[in-house]
């Protein structure tokens, strides 16, 4: 089986598994919406203030929702032993990891990106700001999944793994958060926001290049 074929098979398999447990997918989206709804309740519904903090709140909520879904990336396969089976195939483990994190992004990052405009409207964001929000989430969430896959693999089966995962991954997420919400805030402030989007894309390229390889190394450690 060629690497590309294997990659596609992994994506199809993980999407199928995710579809069989649709409830899990909803949890992330519902969490995202709930966190975003709590802020106006806590801070007050003044439209100007909401439009000002909207991009940041939506980005933080997206990061937390992503973090919530991260343990799912390897944990189920690790517990039922299929991760071990996937590792002994002749294709490199990084291809397998790349497939899994693509499927993870399709099941977490993409739903978030699709629901985000609705919340953006509730926060009173303008049209071009909403478009930038979608673009920044589309560029940023794959980076979150890729960086998160390293953290998820490192904490596989470790004591207090989920708490540790947050400690490992959140500092690494900081640049994505800053550029992602920065792009939206720049457009809201009348600037172009292209600089931040380009940087997000650059970070995405670098992460996609390195993360599957490092995460595969970490996955092998957990299985050995």
């Amino acid at each position: 089986m060629s690497s590309a074929h294997f990659f596609a098979t992994i994506i199809r398999r993980d999407l199928l598994l995710a579809w069989q447990q649709r409830g899990d997918l909803l949890v992330g989206v519902v969490f995202f919406v709930l966190v975003a709804c709590l802020f106006p309740l806590a801070i007050g519904p003044e439209p100007k203030l909401l439009a000002r903090i909207g991009p940041g709140v939506l980005w933080v909520a997206a990061i937390l929702a992503n973090l919530l879904a991260l343990p799912r990336l390897f944990n189920n396969d690790w517990q039922d032993g299929s991760l071990e089976q996937l590792l002994i195939t002749p294709t490199p483990a990084s291809v397998m990891v790349a497939g899994k994190l693509t499927a993870h992004w399709l099941t977490t990052g993409v739903p978030l990106t699709l629901i985000a405009p609705l919340l953006g409207i509730q926060y009173g964001l303008e049209n071009d700001t909403l478009l930038t929000l979608i673009a920044s989430l589309l560029l940023g969430t794959p980076t979150l999944s890729a960086l998160g896959s390293i953290g998820a693999a490192l904490t596989l089966g470790v004591r207090q793994g989920e708490m540790l995962l947050a400690l490992l991954v959140l500092p690494l997420y900081a640049p994505v958060l800053i550029f992602g919400s920065g792009a939206v805030a720049a457009v809201a402030g009348g600037l172009s926001g292209m600089a931040e989007l380009s940087l997000l894309a650059a970070i995405l390229c670098a992460t996609l290049f390195l993360a599957p390889w490092l995460a595969a190394m970490a996955v092998k450690l957990a299985v050995e």
Binding site: L154, V158, P171, I178, F179, A185, L214, M217
Partner: protein, 254 residues
């Protein structure tokens, strides 16, 4: 089979073996500790007795002699940690990973001291303990990276997995440190307008500079000494089952 000819003093790799390194580290620790104390004493004396007060900040600026060296070390130690992690993954030497793990607590301490002295300095000079300035925020995130590394390596029981997992994390982190630094810098300049510039090194009197360099060297020597003593403990923990450790303990040596 005889190994290929190489003079004993050239073969640095022989110290990659914990058994060879343990006594060497033991001999080096007092040396580096003594250097640290001497340099620190000299730095304190020049910094607190000889150097003049600052034109704008009066006497309060003197915390710089603790603040700048600890900040430098906090950043530098992470790079060294990443270096040993790369060495561990490439050369598969156990000692490299132990070095990385021995460095992490010192690095975390330096990052904490840098933040703490910075807050002490910030309160009288800027009127606030904390601002979301680029340097402060990235140092805080660096502190969290250290804590994550320590927590990860300490919560994995198998030494081999702990070593490799820590190495992977340190490498990911070292790529992220510059990214974090620049992202925070950008974020700051775009939205708040930097009201505080910490760059005033050029206007520094030469005695101040000397004191700061002496203190930096002292911090460096202290870091080496504490790292070596921690690596010795790690070696004893890991190699407790081996004959050479048992023999040393039987002979009553430390």
């Amino acid at each position: 089979m005889k190994p290929p000819h190489s003079p004993r003093w050239l073969n640095l790799f022989s110290f990659a073996s914990p058994m060879q390194f343990y006594p060497l580290a033991g001999r080096l620790i007092p040396l580096f500790m003594a250097l640290a104390i001497l340099l620190c004493a000299a730095g304190f004396w020049i910094g607190f007795a000889i150097a003049p007060g600052d034109a704008q900040q009066g006497e309060g600026y003197r915390i710089i002699f603790l603040h700048v060296p600890t900040s430098w070390m906090a950043m530098f130690i992470y790079v060294v940690m990443a270096f040993w992690s790369v060495m561990h993954l490439i050369l598969r030497t156990r000692l490299s990973a132990m070095m990385a793990q021995a460095l992490a607590p010192t690095g975390a301490l330096m990052a904490f001291l840098s933040l703490f002295t910075g807050a002490l300095w910030g309160k009288p000079m800027w009127g606030t303990w904390w601002v979301w300035d680029a340097r402060l925020t990235s140092m805080l995130l660096l502190f969290f990276l250290y804590l994550g590394f320590i927590a990860l390596t300490r919560s994995i029981d198998e030494p081999d997995r702990a070593d490799k997992a820590g190495s992977v994390l340190a490498i990911v982190g070292v790529f992220n440190v510059p990214v974090i630094y620049f992202s925070v810098k950008w974020w700051n300049t775009l939205h708040q307008g930097a009201s505080i510039s910490m760059e005033k090194g050029s206007s520094m009197a030469s005695t101040m500079l000397v004191a700061m360099l002496l203190m930096s060297l002292a911090a460096w020597m202290y870091s080496i000494a504490s790292c070596l003593s921690r690596v010795r403990t790690l070696i004893l923990q890991r190699e407790g089952y081996t004959r050479w450790v048992k023999e040393r303990i039987a002979q009553g040596e430390k």
